[in-house]
Symmetry: C2
Subunit: 433 residues, 2 copies
């Protein structure tokens, strides 16, 4: 028999998408692969979701153990989120010999190594395509399609909420707080948007991408991240005037010479001619630069019930084919633990920078600011100072490539000048393609 | 032992890329997968290529049988191109129980069904990721990542040569013949460019994409294709004025209601705001619209030695893992032969259209032309007629959605008008996203 029984733990938006997609497209999956997906049991603490899901009463339970202990279930789909209960369920499923599919980036970015090692030991498949960029198959691309590449750079727009907010700030000339409200109103931001707007969600996804791209378990707590909640509309306007666009980028780079890599999330200026600059609203896009392929971009919806369910079902089908073909090996190597490459200290990374200072309008100010920059090895490639008629005037500067440590030191010194009246703005610039 | 022996037949550009990439990155493949790729033998009729390849004399041969008959070889890589000899080698390899990797879209689009059926019967893996869009992993995306989707539309810029020519026509204001010469000079077009500029290469790739997307063997000879060799710079300029850009698109659409699909290659107007319009020069991009994922775009270099070799090695590694894990099933279902869906007659397809007429400048001409269009159920959404001071004046029109048959009938009638002095230009418009 080719029936594969799936147990779903968590019936929120994505869980409902999975149930819906199984109902809608299990026939086409059967036609294409010979695999018949059966939703055997669904668990959620909220009894009302049985009706929302439109599933039989008999398959709905409020107790996850009913799924974990069901010997007929081959695959557990964990969709409750969070890092505590979800971790326990997944480890328990592995112990019970059940394969696991999850969309839980928070968990994987922090406890992935523990989970992958447990799975490896028990010959268990962990599917996590849905954890990064929703329906865009970026995990499979990195782990399989680009296997013959040394990956040099990753630039990812991997958080739909912040991309939506930045798009609306520019297009509708909104301040951050108003764009956030709009995003919440339209369902693109959660009531508590902290994980998204602070860059934490993007950092979770970056941890996963970089670990597989560089074949080493990246430590989440070492990843520097910065959100978009301090971006002013004024910055968006200057950036646009300069021919750039601001995107929250998850950035990973490999430095061949020193065998180190860098991983950080920054609101980043990219040139308007870059294909990444054209990625608008809630869409995600990930640029991966391999030494054989050159730059490739993968674009699509990074969230939502059905796109995410599509990735979950792709993982389910992959495991199912292995079960049906009586394959003996289910796990795949996740990444190497023997690797000697290290993460570069964020202060040692280099970039071009956008700087904005609010200074009083008085002779010699520009000389003082640029003097400190020069002393810290920072050279400028453009300066923008407009007449405003206000007391505090903005000076916007773009630098040549500089070291983060030098920028931080210079900014600290410039902030102490009595002519500087606002906290300086520092943003990175990336020449993606 | 985890050594997998590969025999390479054909050591042209791509074959050289494969040899180079094995040398460069086989260590990283080993680290990530435990698979050691060994280039066991290389065959080419041109003895000089042994030195170009920088491989040992002992592994170079001019006789493909040395590879086909070598019992140590697990995988054959066919890179000689063409549809005759290549077909024989592949069928012979299958008979001998060797797995096959090929980049040969011409062969697969015309003899794929024969090859896939032979492979299926002998439990042989056929890898052909490199046959469409070079290093962009579009085959795996369709066959695996989007398995839970009904695919609704495909819009592909899958021919780098024509995309390069169209980009240069627009950016450098060149006529087709000059842009072609430039492409040839820079190595983006072959000395004999017919396959590319006539749309044949794009049709080959479309046949492969559509067969797997729609799960049915599409008949290549039924695919309508049109190239870019009749495009004038004047068209490029009008199209740009109208807010569009011209791209050679491989188009496949599924019509749920009638269970029919359409497949055709056309120089196509797409709106400048579409992400596909931003794909320039030799780059490829494929938009796939699944019912669960919505529109996704996959972008990268569609040709070249190393990008193509990257796709070939990904296939080799996939087969190698199966060999090493002692898996019993190598083939995957290719597509269904039980499918009852049919290709729609090209004349029954619908589109919006760009029409350009060269008429004499005289009262009533516009009325005559638009009268015939109206009689054929074609309604206009914009008309552009500029003063030129010349005897023959251009009238450019964009239509609402119309039936191809109606357009063909109307054009035939309009061409007979004595006020029409040039062969009318007809181009399709697609609202991709």
């Amino acid at each position: 028999m080719n029936i594969i029984n799936v147990g779903l733990i968590g019936a929120g938006t994505v869980g409902q998408g999975v149930a819906q997609l199984v109902r809608k497209n299990s026939n086409i999956i059967f036609e294409k692969t010979g695999v018949r997906i059966n939703l055997q049991k669904v668990c959620d603490l909220d009894q009302r979701r049985q009706q929302v899901l439109n599933v039989d009463k008999n398959i709905f339970t409020k107790n996850a153990n009913d799924i974990l202990n069901d010997p007929a279930i081959h695959i557990i789909v964990e969709l409750i989120g969070g890092t505590s209960q979800a971790r326990e369920y997944i480890l328990e499923a592995i112990k019970k010999g059940k394969h696991v599919v999850t969309a839980n980036k928070a968990l994987l970015s922090q406890k992935g190594d523990e989970i992958f090692q447990a799975a490896y030991k028990r010959n268990i498949f962990i599917g996590f395509e849905a954890s990064v960029a929703g329906g865009v198959p970026i995990i499979k691309v990195i782990r399989e399609s680009l296997i013959a590449n040394k990956i040099k750079n990753i630039f990812g727009i991997v958080n739909g909420t912040t991309n939506f907010i930045l798009t609306k700030m520019e297009e509708n000339a909104l301040e951050f707080s108003d764009a956030l409200k709009l995003a919440q109103h339209l369902g693109f931001a959660e009531a508590n948007p902290v994980f998204d707007i602070k860059g934490i969600d993007a950092a979770h996804k970056l941890q996963i991408l970089a670990s597989f791209a560089f074949n080493t378990p990246v430590e989440f707590k070492k990843i520097y991240y910065e959100g978009i909640d301090r971006i002013d509309l004024a910055d968006i306007v200057y950036i646009s005037d300069l021919g750039y666009r601001l995107k929250l980028l998850a950035i990973a780079k490999f430095d061949k010479a020193s065998r180190t890599y860098e991983c950080h999330v920054n609101p980043t200026l990219i040139h308007r001619s870059s294909p990444l600059a054209a990625i608008k609203n809630e869409y995600n896009a990930i640029l991966i630069d391999g030494d054989a392929t050159g730059s490739q971009i993968f674009y699509g919806k990074g969230a939502g019930a059905l796109p995410t369910a599509s990735a979950i079902l792709a993982d389910i089908v992959e495991i199912s084919k292995k079960i049906i073909n009586n394959e003996s090996k289910f796990y795949d190597r996740f990444y190497s633990h023997q690797s000697h490459i290290k993460m570069k200290d964020y202060r040692d990374t280099k970039s071009r920078y956008y700087l904005r200072f609010g200074t009083i309008d008085k002779p010699g100010v520009l000389a003082k600011v640029s003097g400190i920059l020069g002393k810290n090895n920072i050279s400028l490639c453009s300066v923008l100072q407009k007449e405003t008629g206000q007391k505090v005037v903005p000076i916007v500067m773009l630098t040549h490539e500089s070291k983060e440590a030098d920028i931080q030191d210079a900014i600290k010194a410039i902030q102490k000048l009595d002519v500087v009246k606002e906290k300086p703005k520092v943003l990175r610039i990336e020449d993606t393609i």
